[in-house]
Symmetry: none
DNA sequence: AATGCATGCTAAGTCTGTCAAGCACTAACT
DNA sequence: AGTTAGTGCTTGACAGACTTAGCATGCATT
């Protein structure tokens, strides 16, 4: 079919690319992430992760990233080549795209502004 | 005292002890395990694992052990100090204000719009 | 121009998991 | 005794994750 269909066999998005996309989607710099993780992950290390120089970071690193970047932990584990406990939940990503919305990182002001804006959007389209 | 039998009833809590008990329960030698894993885990390494010299083996090592020794993968992961994916969902502790944000109900369009708007907000205030 | 700051990235080092080889001990068997 | 085989354990080296300090560019302000 035209384009846009996903070829499961091909894996163009490796761990680093996933992380980078999640981060840039949130408009965060590498140092922002470093801060958000409480210095748990240095910006230098992040750079190496995103550039693919490091392919198998420790799970606790992946966990920190998953919370900050709002990407499911299991996804990162899987992309890092780890076996995920057989409690495989394919449907865990029920809202896929919405999960990329890092609500965790919103300041109170930002959240308020976004809620206002969302309300505005919805009144507009009915 | 006077417990003529060794205290095997006590469930070991350390990773090394868990592995060792599982192995000896199965009457396997360290080299047996090495064989059973298809040389994936050397007997030398096993020795260090059981003696506690190595505390955080890679998940794929734990997985191999879990299958050979018939110990649940999650148990080993947990004992190695890794966060187990399934333990992630119930908590979701830190939200607080995030809960007020109905992310789950966002449509893809809305999310995109909000992300844009958030980017705009952040460029504004730096 | 120059100063400052933010961003991404690299260089060089440390730490630790992991392996291969070999050591030390025991139990059997000739 | 001597050897053979089985056990757990140690040692030395390597690889890769991870850190710290610093570089290079870009973008803005003075």
């Amino acid at each position: 079919m035209t384009d846009g269909e996903t070829d499961q066999n091909v894996r163009p998005t490796n761990l680093g690319q996933i992380i980078k996309k999640a981060r840039t989607d949130l408009q965060m710099s590498q140092r922002d992430v470093e801060e958000a993780t409480g210095k748990e992950i240095s910006n230098a290390y992040l750079s190496q992760l995103e550039s693919g120089k490091i392919t198998k970071p420790s799970p606790h690193i992946l966990y920190a990233l998953s919370t900050v970047l709002a990407v499911p932990y299991e996804t990162l584990m899987e992309r890092a080549g780890y076996i995920v406990p057989s409690a495989q939940r394919p449907a865990d990503v029920k809202h896929g795209r919405a999960a990329t919305f890092a609500v965790d990182n919103l300041t109170a002001d930002e959240e308020a502004a976004l809620l206002d804006y969302l309300a505005y959007l919805r009144t507009k389209k009915g």
